[in-house]
Subunit: 137 residues, 2 copies
């Protein structure tokens, strides 16, 4: 079972997890959200993320998911995981990326394989759905 740690500006990560669980079913642990506010210092954000990383230590592989390539979540995650190249750090979390993570985190062979699936799903989800649906009709 691959652990998923989601770090976002504000609290939307937790609500996104709730929405994905509503589609896929509840996850039995191993999914942690870190929501940061503008009032937190970088030191505090780093502490929160370290704490989440510590909570899943020794419990299997993990993927860190951020909301966008820049900004505090990504800027804190990258240096903190510099010496752990086996942990994928991906950005741009959306609902379908998370639904895909929840669907495959039990069966994916490696975190890296799951991260690829999540990136592919996340990207495909960003689309002009009028065009998409017209193409299917």
């Amino acid at each position: 079972m691959i652990n998923i740690i989601i770090i976002t500006h504000g609290e939307f990560g937790a609500y996104l997890v709730e929405a994905a669980e509503g589609i896929v079913g509840p996850q039995d642990g191993g999914v942690l959200c870190v929501g940061i506010s503008a009032r937190m210092s970088v030191v505090e954000v780093r502490g929160r993320l370290s704490e989440a990383l510590e909570r899943v230590r020794g419990k299997g592989e993990m993927i860190v998911v951020t909301d966008m390539p820049g900004g505090t979540p990504a800027n804190v995650a990258i240096p903190l995981l510099k010496d752990r190249p086996e942990v994928p750090v991906i950005s741009g979390v959306n609902l379908y990326m998370l639904v895909t993570a929840f669907n495959y985190r039990k069966t994916a062979a490696t975190a890296s394989e799951l991260a690829e699936k999540m990136l592919s799903a996340g990207q495909r989800a960003v689309s002009n759905i009028r065009v998409l649906l017209a193409g299917r009709a």
Copy 2:
């Protein structure tokens, strides 16, 4: 000013808006969220979205943004907007897509132009940020 209507599973759309406003600054109206729950009927979801569309009627162009290509939000939005081809309907909302919408909704010439910018930003945000940052170094 282009209106943005966000329809999602659950309430994460409203929190995503809050996070984007935390980065870009508060939006003076014209941004509406419709959150749907598993307990709502399709008729009720359609009613909520119709109401949001009605609230921005005559106040400029609009874009409808959903969380993923399938699922109730997209499945309700597409038929409801069948006779309004001028309204882009896009999916896969993530933070950077919304930040981009808020940055350009005052200056974009058309909803279609803004939708293209949002799709491009949303897709670019979905990335392996270790690789992205290594490439930039």
